[in-house]
Symmetry: C5
Subunit: 348 residues, 5 copies
Amino acid sequence: MENDQDAPAATDSEPGVSSPAKPCSRPGVIAAAVYDHGRRIGDIEIKDAHTWRGRDKAVVWIGLHEPDKALLREVQVEFGLHDLAIEDANHAHQRPKLEIYGDSIFVVARTAHMAGAEIVFGETHLFVGRGYVVSVRHGPSTSYNLVRQRCEASPASLALGENYILYSILDFIVDNYMPVLEAIHAEVEDLEERLLRERLDKKDIERLYMLRRSLLRLRNAVVPLVDVCRRHEHLDLPGMDASLHAMFRDVTDHVRRVQEDIDTLREVLAFTFEASLMIGQSEQTEISRKLASWAAILAVPTAVAGIYGMNFEEMPELKLPYAYFIVLFFIFFVCGTLYRLFRRAKWL
Amino acid sequence: MENDQDAPAATDSEPGVSSPAKPCSRPGVIAAAVYDHGRRIGDIEIKDAHTWRGRDKAVVWIGLHEPDKALLREVQVEFGLHDLAIEDANHAHQRPKLEIYGDSIFVVARTAHMAGAEIVFGETHLFVGRGYVVSVRHGPSTSYNLVRQRCEASPASLALGENYILYSILDFIVDNYMPVLEAIHAEVEDLEERLLRERLDKKDIERLYMLRRSLLRLRNAVVPLVDVCRRHEHLDLPGMDASLHAMFRDVTDHVRRVQEDIDTLREVLAFTFEASLMIGQSEQTEISRKLASWAAILAVPTAVAGIYGMNFEEMPELKLPYAYFIVLFFIFFVCGTLYRLFRRAKWL
Amino acid sequence: MENDQDAPAATDSEPGVSSPAKPCSRPGVIAAAVYDHGRRIGDIEIKDAHTWRGRDKAVVWIGLHEPDKALLREVQVEFGLHDLAIEDANHAHQRPKLEIYGDSIFVVARTAHMAGAEIVFGETHLFVGRGYVVSVRHGPSTSYNLVRQRCEASPASLALGENYILYSILDFIVDNYMPVLEAIHAEVEDLEERLLRERLDKKDIERLYMLRRSLLRLRNAVVPLVDVCRRHEHLDLPGMDASLHAMFRDVTDHVRRVQEDIDTLREVLAFTFEASLMIGQSEQTEISRKLASWAAILAVPTAVAGIYGMNFEEMPELKLPYAYFIVLFFIFFVCGTLYRLFRRAKWL
Amino acid sequence: MENDQDAPAATDSEPGVSSPAKPCSRPGVIAAAVYDHGRRIGDIEIKDAHTWRGRDKAVVWIGLHEPDKALLREVQVEFGLHDLAIEDANHAHQRPKLEIYGDSIFVVARTAHMAGAEIVFGETHLFVGRGYVVSVRHGPSTSYNLVRQRCEASPASLALGENYILYSILDFIVDNYMPVLEAIHAEVEDLEERLLRERLDKKDIERLYMLRRSLLRLRNAVVPLVDVCRRHEHLDLPGMDASLHAMFRDVTDHVRRVQEDIDTLREVLAFTFEASLMIGQSEQTEISRKLASWAAILAVPTAVAGIYGMNFEEMPELKLPYAYFIVLFFIFFVCGTLYRLFRRAKWL
Amino acid sequence: MENDQDAPAATDSEPGVSSPAKPCSRPGVIAAAVYDHGRRIGDIEIKDAHTWRGRDKAVVWIGLHEPDKALLREVQVEFGLHDLAIEDANHAHQRPKLEIYGDSIFVVARTAHMAGAEIVFGETHLFVGRGYVVSVRHGPSTSYNLVRQRCEASPASLALGENYILYSILDFIVDNYMPVLEAIHAEVEDLEERLLRERLDKKDIERLYMLRRSLLRLRNAVVPLVDVCRRHEHLDLPGMDASLHAMFRDVTDHVRRVQEDIDTLREVLAFTFEASLMIGQSEQTEISRKLASWAAILAVPTAVAGIYGMNFEEMPELKLPYAYFIVLFFIFFVCGTLYRLFRRAKWL
C-alpha cells in the first residue's frame, strides 16, 4: 500500500539543496518528501528537513507510523517541536484536540475504518508549522498515501502549503468514518427488521449491545473533532490562505453531519431497546393468557374425572345407563364453550 | 404541476437584452425567469443569466431539479459560485445550514411532505446572491412553482429582490412541515386512544416505533433550520430591505413552533411507552392473580377426589350413606367460599 | 360577565374629542375605553381611537375576542400595526413570544384556567404602543374585565400608561395558572396516595397519563413566557416608568415559580411511574411465590392419592389396617410442614 | 429559645437617642436591637429604628416571625422598603432569590431542618440596607437567635455592618441543611443495604419514593440559593467590606457542596431503582425456574399413577408380581434424575 | 514511604540563614525543605520559613498530613494565609476548587488510588504563593514524596518555582486516577462478558451497583478538577513562567481524558443495565414458553387417564381387547406430536 518506496529517486533537480538521493527506507518512516509551489521535489532524509524550512513556498511532508522514541526525537529537533506535544505523540490514547505551541499546531484525531466486519480504531497526531507537516499514525489505520497522491495530483491546491495538507488529511479522516457509519447503519436496520418481524433473541441483544458500544466509541472519536475542526475554521495561522477557511468549514460541516448521524443511530437503538421491552412484555402477557386459558379448559376433565373416579359405594350416577357418555359429552361441551369464550376474549 | 413550460414565450419586451425566446425545456431545469422591479420579464437560458446580473432591481430566479454535473457547472460559472458549495449541491444528504461565501449565501434545507400515508423527505439547496436565486431540489419534494406564482402575484413584495424570494421559499418549506406534523399527530392520538381503551398489540408497537423514527427524522430536518432562520434574521446582506428582517423573524418563529410541536409529540410518545409498560405489567399481574385463584379453587376437587379415589381396603367414609353427596357438597361449598374470598380481594 | 356594556355612557366630559356616545356593542369588541391620567374618560368607537393617540397621558384600551378579519384590519389601520403581527393575531396557535415592531410591541401568551374539572387553554395577543393597548383573546379564556376594573380602581398606577396595563394583564394571566396548578397538584397527591396505599389500576394509569399530558401542555404555555417576561424587565420602551421594571421582574419571578412547580410535578410523576413499576414487580413476585408455594403443597395429596389409586393387584399397603388413616395423616403432616416452611421463608 | 426578652434593659448608655427602655414583647417581633461598632447598644422599638439609620457604623437588626400586615407595614415605613418586596414577604412560597431595590436588597431563602425523623421546610425573607437588617421567618424554622449570639460574641466582625449579618444568616441557613442531608444519607445507605442483602419490599419502595421527594424538595431550596450566593459574591453594595466577598464566596462554595451531595444522592437512588428492577427480575426468573422444575418432577408420579389408575380390564402389568414396586421405583428414579438435572442446570 | 526523615542534615551550606539543622520530625509534618534555583538547600523548621520568603528564586515546600490545628495555625502565621482557607483545610470534605486570596491561591483536589481491590479516596489542600507551597493531605492518599524526588531530579524545571511544584502535584494526582480507572475498566469488562455469556446473578448486580457508585464518586472528584485545571491554564500569577501555561494545559487535557473515560464507562454500565433487562425478559419468556409447552403435553395423559379412571358401570371401551394399549399409544402419539409442534415453534 505504501508505494513511496517503489517510486525511487524522484526529481531532485533543485540545485543547491541536499540531494534526497535515496528514498526513506527507515522503519517508522512511511514517506518524507519536499514540495515546492505544490510540485514534488523529491524524497528527503529527516535530518535534511531543516534546510528546506526557511524557503518560501516549500513544504516538507513527513509521514510516520508508530515511530520509536529516537525517530520522534530527531523530528522534534529538526522542527523545534514542543516537549509536551512530543510526549503526547509518544503514546497513543490522547483525546482529539488542537493545541497551539507558539506558531506551530499539534492536532490529535482518532481514525476509524472497517477491517472486514470489524470496526478498527486508530489515532493520528499531526504537527503542522511554517513549511512542514508531520503525521504520526498509531494503531491500525489507513495510510495517508492516498491523500499524498491526491494532493500531488492538484499542485495548485498543494501550493497553498502546509495548511492545505492538514485540511486534506482531516478531510480524509472524516471521509473514512462514512463506511464505518454505513456498516453500523446496516446492522441497525437489520436488527430493527428482526425486532419488528419476530423478536430479539439473546444473540440479537448481544449485537445490539455491541452496536451501542461501537457507536459510543465512534462518538468519542468524532465529538471532540467537531471542536477541533471548528477551531481550525477560525484559526489565523501565518500563511493561511483565506480560501482555506471555507475548506475547513466544509470539514466541520462534514464531521457535524457524522455526529448527527451517530446521535440519530444512538436514539434509534434506544427506541429499539424500548420497543423490545414492550414486545417482550406483550408476548409474555400473551403466553400467560394462553397458559391460563388451557389450564382452565383442562381443569374440567380433571375435576369431573376425579369426582367419578372416587370409590364411594353409593354413587347413583355411576349406574345410570349412558351416564359415561353423558359425562363425556358434558366434558367436551364445557371445554368447547370455554375455548370459544377465550377465543372471543382474544386470550387464545 | 410544473406548468412553466406550458406558459411559453412570456413577455420578452425588454429591449437590448438577449431575448429568451424559447422556454427552458432542458432536463433538470424546472424554471428560469428574470424579474425586474417584481415584474416577470420572461424566461431565459441559463447561459444568458449574467447579462441580467448587473442591472439594478433585476433578479434571475432559476429552479433546478436533480441537475447533472454539467448543468451545475454552467450555473456555477454564470453566477460565480464557490466550488465547495457546488460540490455540496452535487450530492444530497447535507445538514441544513447557511454558509456565506463572499457576498453570496448558500442555504441547505430539508423538506418533508406527505405522499399518501407516507412521509417523504427531500432536500433543497439555495444559492442566493446579488440579483439571482438558484434553487436545487433533490429527492422527492414539492416544486416551488407555487411559490413563484405567489411571488409573481405580489410584484410589490417581489421587488424587494432575491432575499424576498429566499424568504418565500423558506416560508413555503416550513409551511409544508405542517401537514406532516398533523398526520403524525393524528397517528399519535389514535395510538393513545387504543392504549387507554385496551392495550397496544404488536402492530401498535411497530407503529409507535415507526412514529418515533419519523419524528426523529423530522426533527433532524427542523432543528438545524431554526438556526439557519435565526441567522437570516440578523444577516446584513447587501440590498436587504429592513422589512425583510421581520419576515425572516416570522419564519424563525414558525419553525420554532414546529420544533416545539415535535418535541411535545416525542415526549407524548415517551409517556405512551411508559404507560404501556405500566398497563402491561398491571395486566400481567391481573392474569397471574386470576390464574392463581382458579388454580386454588380447582385444587379442592382434585385433592378430595384423589383421596377418595385411593384403593385402600379400609376406608370407612366410602361406605357411609350419602357420603358421596356430602363430599360433593363439601367440594362445592369450599370452592364457592374460595371464589367469594378471591372476589372480595379483587383477584377475580 | 362582560359588563362594560351594562355601564352605558361613561363620563364623556372631555371637550373637543369625538364623543363616545354609544358603548361598543359590535361583535368581537368586548370593551374599548380611553383613559387620561389613569381616569376613565369613556367608551370609544375603534375608528375614533387615533384622535386620542397623540395626547400625552391618554391611553386607549381595547379588548377583542375572536375578532373577524375586518375588525382586526380596522384596528391595524387605526394603530398602524405591522402586517405580520396582524396575520399572527388572525389565527391562534402561536408560540408565546415578544416581538418588537418599531416602537410598538406584540406579545403572545397562552392562558389556562379550570372549567369545572377540565383544564382549558386559550391564547391572548397583545398590541402595545404609545398610548394604546389592544388585547385579542382566542379560544376559551377568562375575560380581562377584572383587570380593567382593578386598574380603574387605582388611577395612580393606571396613570403609568400602556405598560402598566400590559403588566396587569400578564400578571393576571400568570395568576390564573395557579388554580390549574393546584388542581393538578391535588390529582398528583391523590394518585400518590393510591399508589402507596394499594397500587395503580388501569384507570389510575390513565389519569397519570393524562396528568403528564396536561403538565406538558401547561409547560409549553409557561416556559416561553418566562423569556417574554424577562425581556420585558429589560425592555427600554418609550415612556416606560422605572417603577415598572420592578413590576415586570415580579411577574418574571412569579412565572418562574410556576415553571419550577411544573417541573417538580413532572419529576414527581416520573417517580410515581418508577415506584409503580417497582411495586408492580414486587407484587408479581409475591403472587408467583404464593402460586408456587400452594402448587408445591397441593402436589403432595395429588401424588400420594394418585399412587394409592393405582389398580395393581399386589399393593400390600392397601390391605394394612389403618393404612388409610396413616396415609391421610402423612399427607396432612407433609402439607403442614411445607406450609410452615414457606411461611417462614415469607413466600406465604 | 428566644431569650432576648429575658435579657431586659440592655445597656442603653448611648446619649441623645430614643432610649430603648422596654424589650420588644410585641407578637411577631422576636428581637430588635441596635449595634454600634459591633457592640450591642440595646433593644429598640421598631418605630424608633429610623433614628439610628443615619448614624455611621450603627446597625439595627430586627427579627420577625410570621408578622401580621400591620407590623410589616410599620417596618416598611421605617426603612422605606419597596411595595413589591413587602408584598412578597407577606405570604410565603417564594422562590429563593436576590432582588435589588435601589440601594437595599431583598433576599428569599428556604430553610430546612430535622424535626425528629421528619424534614421540615421553612422560608426566610431578608431586607438588608444601609444600617439595617430585617429577617422575616415563615413556617417552622430555627430561630436566628443563635446567629445573633455568635455575632455579638465577635464584635470585630459584627462591626463590618449589615452585610456581615446577612452573611451570618445565610451561612447559618446553609449549615442547617447539613443534618438534613445526613439524615437522608443514612436512610439511603440503609435502603441500599437492604436492597443488596435481600430485596426491597413495598414498605421500602414507599421509603425510597419519599426520599426522592424529600431530595427534590431540598434541591428546590438549594439550587436557586447557589445563584443567590454567587450574586452576593460579586455584589458591590455600599459599605461592603472587601473581606466580605471572600466570606460570601465561602457560603457559595458550601451551598454548591450541598447541591453536589444532593445530586449524588439522587443519582444513587436512581441506581437503587434500577438495581431493584434487575434484582426483582432475577428473582422472578428464579421462581419461575423453580416452579417449572417442580412441576416437571411432580408430573411424573401424576402421569404414571393416572395411567395405572385406569380401569381397563386388560392391563397386563397390573397383574405382574412386584409390578407395583417396580413402578414405585421407576417413579422415584425418574424424579430423582430430573431433580439432579435441574440442580446441575441451576434451576433448583 | 516518607523517607525525608531518613535523609538527615541536607546541605545547609547557605550562609546567613537560620540553619535547618534537624530534619522535621514533628507529627503531621511529612517534609519541609527549601530550594534555591531548583537546588535543595536543606530541611527547615516551619517557624523559619518566613526568613526564606523574600529571597528571589527560593521556594519553601512543606508537606503536611492531617495536621492538628496548632500546626495549621503556625503555617498560617508564617505564610499569611487567609482565615477561610485555613478553616477549609482544617476539615476534609471540600469540593475540588481553586480560590484566589490576594496573591496566593488555595487549591482543593480529591485523590484516588487502589488499596488492594478497593478504591480509596483522599483529599489534598494546597496553599501556593510567592516562594512557598504547602500541601495538606487528608485521609488515605499517596504521599507526595515521589513528586518531590522527581522535582529534585530536574533542578532546571524546579527553578521555575512554586507554580512548577503545583503543576507537578496536580499532574501526579491526575496520573494516580489512571490505575483506579483501569481497575474499574477491568471489572466492567468482566461484568460485560458474564452478561453476554450467561446472565447476571444477584452477586453481579451488586457488583454492577457498586461500580456505578464508585464511578459516581470518582466523577465527583474529577469533574470539578477539570475546571480547576482550566483556570490554572489562564491564571496570570506573579512569577508564572509562560512555559507553565502549556504544562497546565497538558494536565487539563489529561483530566478531561479521565472524565471522558468515566463518562464512557458510566454509559456502558447503563447499556449493561438495559441489556440485562432485555436478556432477563427474554429468558423469562423462554421459561414461560417451556412451562406452557410441558404443561400442555402433560395434560394429555392426565386427562385421558382421568377419564378412563372413572368408575362408571357402563364404559364399553374398558372391555375392548387391546383398548389399554391403544389408549397408551394414543397418549404417546399425541404427546409426541405436541412436542414436535412446540419444537418447531421454538417454544421448546
